[in-house]
Amino acid sequence: MLATSRNFTAAAQAGLANDNLQRALGLARTGFPLRRRLAVERLPEFEALREAGRAIKDHTLQYLDFYIEFYESQVVASGGKVHWARTPAEACAAVLQICRSVGAKIVTKGKSMVAEEIGLNDFLEANGITPVETDLGEYIIQLRHEPPSHIIAPAIHLVKEQVAETFRAEHRSLDAGRPLIEPRQMCDEARAMLRPRFLAADVGITGANFLVAETGSSIVVTNEGNGDLTQVLPRVHIVVTSIEKVVPTFEDAATLLRLLARSATGQEFSTYTTISTGPRREADLDGPEEYHVVLLDNGRSGMIGTDFQDMLRCIRCSACMSHCPVYAAVGGHAYGWVYPGPMGAVLTPGLIGIEEAGHLPNASTFCGRCESVCPVKIPLPKMMRHWREREHAKKLSPTVYRKGLSVWAWVARRPALYHALAGTAARALGWAGQGHGRFRALPLAAGWTTVRDMPSPEGRSFHSLWAQYKKRGSAR
């Protein structure tokens, strides 16, 4: 997928001014976090499971070469084939070659972020093969020619009226006067439109949430059942996935599965967790005759042993973005590539370079909610800081930022001057903000105050309050 992360600032501003987007995000802000909290509260072991999940992923990464080789040998033993790909181009080529080998015309797809990462749909279309997204959200955005804006709810940026409009424009074989008001009607319509596609597909492509080394299996988690119809009906099943998805055993996968659904949607367990091992067995009455795994690296192996290794623990639950105040304000498209939110702010520069994605690790308030809800305890804010340091060192940040930072550093090294300036500013703002408690506009800060209010200081700096507190303490 072509990255537009460079344009984050402009895209974020456009997002803030987009009424439909703000309405859709308003619905999303409360939904996922509330449901996650209720699910977590119901499971006393949740914290301990996070620790266990982290340990499983760390262990696997430490011996990743061994586990991937073992995984591959088990895929082969069960009659499947592994295609290694270092780059998106190699992965696309591998998929195309498999599709061509069976003369495929229609390919159904379960939702796969790795497929987005390699730009698979555009590539297949350019080569005369029709990819059909089958996850409802992915289907909607495919019709709209938009990228996903969230890794588990790709159409979360849309309101139902926009979906209805898209269906009316694209489903032209249906009665124009049909009612299309409620999500229920739209779900039924998508179901009816997609069913013949499932049945007609020559190849089914899914992603994988986990790969199990022990058995050479891939695990796909969905709620709709689209991933299952995608892999059970066509003659060929291709799994498009990446190297860090490997876990050693079913037991390890089970631990991570207990974390995944609760963190993602607040469900106790997703509706469908499907474990696929090789092609159909000789006597089976259905299932794919061929089973292929396209295993992508795309820079991941290079993240091992660096400040960013912990990012490879990510199980793509989306809790970090669902809890992020920046994501909730600007939406996923502003991030300009496949992975939005905090996990995207860390992963994207690692995969496509800090030169393109430098804005993303800056798009953070450092409130720390992302790390506090991460099921595998990825220190996301810390890694965003690492990227900021690199960006600064490479002089990629705007000159005015770097100059401003130098001025601040110069003042901060002179405590007396710093206290005097900070104290004066706090008093002045506190005085000016009396009565309202917040500023709707501030000189030189329009970029900040157009879309939010600035809370006014209480009048005195922390330093002066601290000094007073200590004085009182010693007097007692």
Partner: protein, 232 residues
């Protein structure tokens, strides 16, 4: 392709600042794969007796909009199925697996039920399958594919009815998997293992949960409780 493989594996080892694993370490990791240890397992379902475990399964399945009919023996299954179909205004037609268990059910006792055995086709509206295990922890059904058990039955029809015997109700996913390892020890894994928790759903439009996205709109469980003392 094999050159790409070597470069990726080499890149990983390079990042880990080492070469191939020492034989001793490798043997240790292989041992872990051969006899997988359990990680932390939540106590919710493990501390229960047989009866409580079944009750937890029924309660959890109900939470995810599966419906449950409890019967006392296999003999009562045809009537339970027929009544469910009538109540849901569905045709008295079933497509079912070729499992031995299902042949043991006296379908003749309800002659109005029309039965076909095999994989599901596009026009099939109701399927009937056994399960491998039922997992109390989250009200999840575990189904496996095989020569007698086509996977299409679990996904194509709008209504999926699953037969669960109370002695199939286990506490956790790991318990279900251990049962599979025990059965499949010699033949290896089946092509597909489905963990199914309630009917198909989506919340992709405005986060409103709607049932029946692509898979079954209804998931009905017929629970046979003859294995438990005093089962009703």
């Amino acid at each position: 392709m094999s050159e790409t493989r070597e470069r990726i594996l080499g890149g990983i080892r390079n990042s880990l600042s080492r070469g191939h694993l020492e034989p001793r370490k490798e043997a240790e990791l292989r041992a872990r794969l051969t006899a997988p240890p359990r990680n932390l397992v939540p106590a919710r379902a493990t501390a229960l007796d047989d009866r409580q475990r079944v009750e937890l399964f029924v309660a959890m399945a109900g939470e995810v909009q599966a419906t449950v009919t409890r019967v006392s023996s296999l003999t009562a299954v045809p009537e339970a199925v027929a009544r469910h179909l009538a109540a849901e205004n569905l045709p008295a037609e079933l497509v079912m697996t070729l499992d031995r268990d299902l042949y043991a059910i006296p379908w003749d006792s309800w002659p109005l039920l029309r039965i076909r055995r095999g994989r599901a086709e596009a026009q099939d509206r109701v399927s009937f399958t056994p399960c491998h295990a039922a997992i109390a922890e989250t009200g999840t059904l575990m189904l496996i594919s095989g020569a007698q058990s086509p996977t299409t039955l679990n996904f194509l029809p709008e209504t999926h009815i699953v037969l669960v015997r109370s002695d199939q109700v286990v506490a956790t996913y790991e318990d279900g998997w251990d049962r599979l390892r025990a059965v499949q020890g010699t033949e290896g894994l089946p092509r597909t293992v489905n963990f199914i928790t309630g009917p198909s759903r989506t919340a992709d439009i405005e986060q409103r949960i709607e049932l029946g996205a692509h898979g079954p709109r209804r998931l009905h469980i017929v629970l046979v409780e003859d294995e438990l003392d005093g089962g009703k």
